[in-house]
């Protein structure tokens, strides 16, 4: 769980930083080109957008740290918590190799303890009204304290600060990019207005598709990044429960008083998607059945499929930035890419390499999840099919939310056959990715890979879908 959490944090940080930066760069290419360092085309604007992202996220993290320090500072520190709680804190500090500052927070009515990092110092905020639990229900208190110590030892709070900061800056970048689209539409309306109502209507009709594609593309990315972050937070809670169980023993009483939403049906499902803590029932089950934690969030398979396909889509757009499908034939795209490869080989192979690595991470997360869910029994085949379909669903969503795809399919008058004839490489690359993933997932369940180390699995199996996609791209776009 910890390994998956780390990889998901890395993947989300990459996606939340790279994609919005590229969107901003393409929207404000003229403004960002040679902004600080004049090193010329072709990707100077992307470089400056990413530099801007780094500066912005550093500022947000700094501001967040300052606000946390101010908020925590008003809670008393160095207050004696009594020998009972003190002994537990000393025990866990030695076991987890973390010595947090204990601050008393909360008045007569307060919720539960929480952990965070303030001014670089791990801290546990402990409500005064809950201290008595250390005597009335010591097993529950120990479990909850061990749970918070696990979060601190695993640096979960810092991960969340980084991700939330990346999301905030990414969201600002995406809104800015969308603002550029709106500005262009507005300019179009102004020009159209010179020709009267017909001109305005013509401009509006022309703006409908770009507005729709941008809303769909940016909206779906933002929503799925949010869902992924929440799913990863829930996984970290399972991890903290698992470690607390190993340290202090399983304790279902720790969740007895949890507020569980009195919801049912779709609302309950949605609540489960957006909440940062799993529901009490699943947490209780996961204390004794480890697979429960991995079954709880199958949405992550859709999300990883979406991310892998989105990265492929971004790579294709970068590689063919000057030769999109609606203005070139396949032969022209081949000539363009050949010329780019001759002129900027490091950049072209760099794009392919980074995209392959990011997709491999996404595939690794899914396949590792599959290995956690699987038991070598007949019944597990259904889970294998379910996993593949969820991953494929995510890939399909990525394609459907792609601006390029929506443009191309609308140009082909929503005729899929005509679209494939016009842009054969794109569906082939996606299809090869899905088939490659199915093959990789099958290979990952073989006895000789099930016993293999995760590194071997990553190298040997998770690269397979990407290698198939690269092969397909080379076959179409760089024929011999």
């Amino acid at each position: 769980m910890r390994q998956e959490s780390l990889l998901r944090t890395l993947l989300v940080l990459l996606l939340a930083s790279i994609i919005p930066s590229m969107l901003l760069a393409s929207s404000y290419a003229d403004h960002l080109a040679d902004l600080v360092i004049a090193f010329g085309p072709p990707f100077t604007h992307i470089f400056h957008a990413m530099a801007l992202f780094i500066v912005a996220i550093s500022g947000v993290i700094g501001l967040s740290s300052l606000l946390t320090w101010r908020a925590v500072g008003r809670f008393s520190k160095n207050v004696p918590v009594g020998p009972t709680v003190g002994a537990m804190v000393d025990e866990f500090a030695a076991r987890f190799a973390v010595r947090p500052e204990i601050r008393i927070a909360g008045g007569v009515r307060a919720a539960d303890m929480t952990s965070l990092v303030s001014a670089g110092r791990p801290t546990v905020l402990m409500p005064a009204s809950r201290l008595i639990e250390a005597k009335t229900d010591p097993a529950v208190f120990r479990f909850r304290l061990a749970h918070e110590f696990t979060h601190l030892a695993a640096n979960d709070y810092r991960s969340d600060v980084w991700i939330n900061s990346a999301y905030l800056v990414g969201a600002i970048f995406m809104v800015s990019a969308f603002g550029r689209v709106l500005w262009n539409v507005f300019e179009g309306l102004i020009v159209g207005g010179r020709f009267g109502a017909d001109g305005v209507w013509f401009a509006l009709r022309g703006a409908a598709l770009p507005l729709t594609t941008n809303v769909v593309a940016l909206g779906s990315l933002a929503v799925l990044l949010f869902f992924e972050h929440r799913a990863a937070m829930r996984l970290r809670e399972f991890h903290a429960d698992a470690v607390a169980t190993s340290v202090s023993g399983a304790n279902t009483g720790a969740f007895a008083g949890m507020v569980t939403a009195q919801l049912s049906g779709p609302l309950r499902w949605l609540y489960g998607l957006v909440n940062d803590h799993p529901d009490a029932g699943t947490r209780t089950t996961a204390l004794t059945e480890r697979q429960a934690a991995f079954r709880a969030d199958l949405i992550t398979l859709v999300i990883q499929g979406f991310f892998a396909a989105t990265v492929v889509e971004m790579a294709l757009q970068l590689l063919l930035v000057g030769s999109s499908v609606d203005i070139s034939s396949l032969a022209e795209r081949q000539a363009y890419l050949r010329a780019q490869l001759a002129r900027y080989p490091e950049i072209i192979w760099g794009i392919i390499g980074v995209a392959t690595a990011v997709c491999a991470v996404a595939n690794f997360l899914v396949i590792q999840r599959l290995r956690m869910l699987q038991a070598p029994t007949k019944a597990s085949f259904a889970t294998f099919i379910q996993t593949g379909l969820l991953y494929a669903l995510g890939s399909a969503l990525a394609l459907l939310s792609s601006q390029t795809f929506l443009w191309e399919i609308s140009d082909a008058r929503w005729n899929v056959g005509a679209w494939v004839a016009q842009d054969p490489e794109r569906p082939s690359i996606y299809l090869s990715g899905i088939l490659g993933f199915a093959l990789a997932a099958l290979l990952a369940r073989m006895p000789w890979t099930m016993g293999a180390s995760p590194l071997l699995t990553a190298l040997g199996v998770c690269l397979l879908p990407s290698l198939l996609q690269v092969s397909m791209a080379v076959w179409f776009l760089l024929p011999a």
Binding site: I104, G106, V108, R109, A111, T114, L125, A128, H147
Partner: protein, 148 residues
């Protein structure tokens, strides 16, 4: 003894009588009351068990603080309605060493009623159980010598 130390001593004496198992947490309770704001919640991971709304120990320390502040106020001003004229000095000595002095005969009937109404009102406000309220009332009466 400083006023803060004296107030802590009084709160601890009440806590020892009402909820002796919570006596070790008196400093934590004092710190929490210093920084608490109305309706403050800390963390959401495990939720709020209903039985802890109005935790007894915190409530005792809170009520003890309010009572001490009231008696301190009466010791500093002319409060003929609540304090017997000839006992003001005893009240002042009590505010510096609550464990060593008794308030027997110091407060008038109105003063005793006022103190007990403060206890009842604040105990009700923080939501402790009826049994807790009774124990707190008895502890205040005993500690302040209000029974005489």
């Amino acid at each position: 003894m400083t006023k803060t130390a004296a107030q802590r001593e009084f709160s601890l004496s009440l806590l020892t009588q009402v909820a002796p198992e919570e006596a070790e947490f008196v400093d934590a309770y004092e710190a929490a009351i210093d920084t608490a704001t109305t309706g403050q919640r800390v963390g959401t991971g495990f939720g709020l068990p209903p039985e802890l709304a109005g935790a007894l120990g915190v409530a005792v320390v809170l009520v003890g603080r309010v009572v001490f502040e009231q008696l301190l106020e009466w010791s500093g001003e002319v409060a003929k309605k609540f304090v017997v004229d000839t006992a003001v000095d005893r009240l002042k000595r009590w505010t510096t060493a609550p464990a060593k002095e008794s308030l027997e005969g110091v407060l008038t009937s109105a003063g005793r009623l006022e103190i007990l109404s403060i206890v009842d009102r604040d105990a009700e406000r923080v939501g402790i159980s009826n049994e807790g309220k009774k124990r707190l009332r008895r502890a205040v009466i005993k500690q302040l010598g209000l029974g005489a």
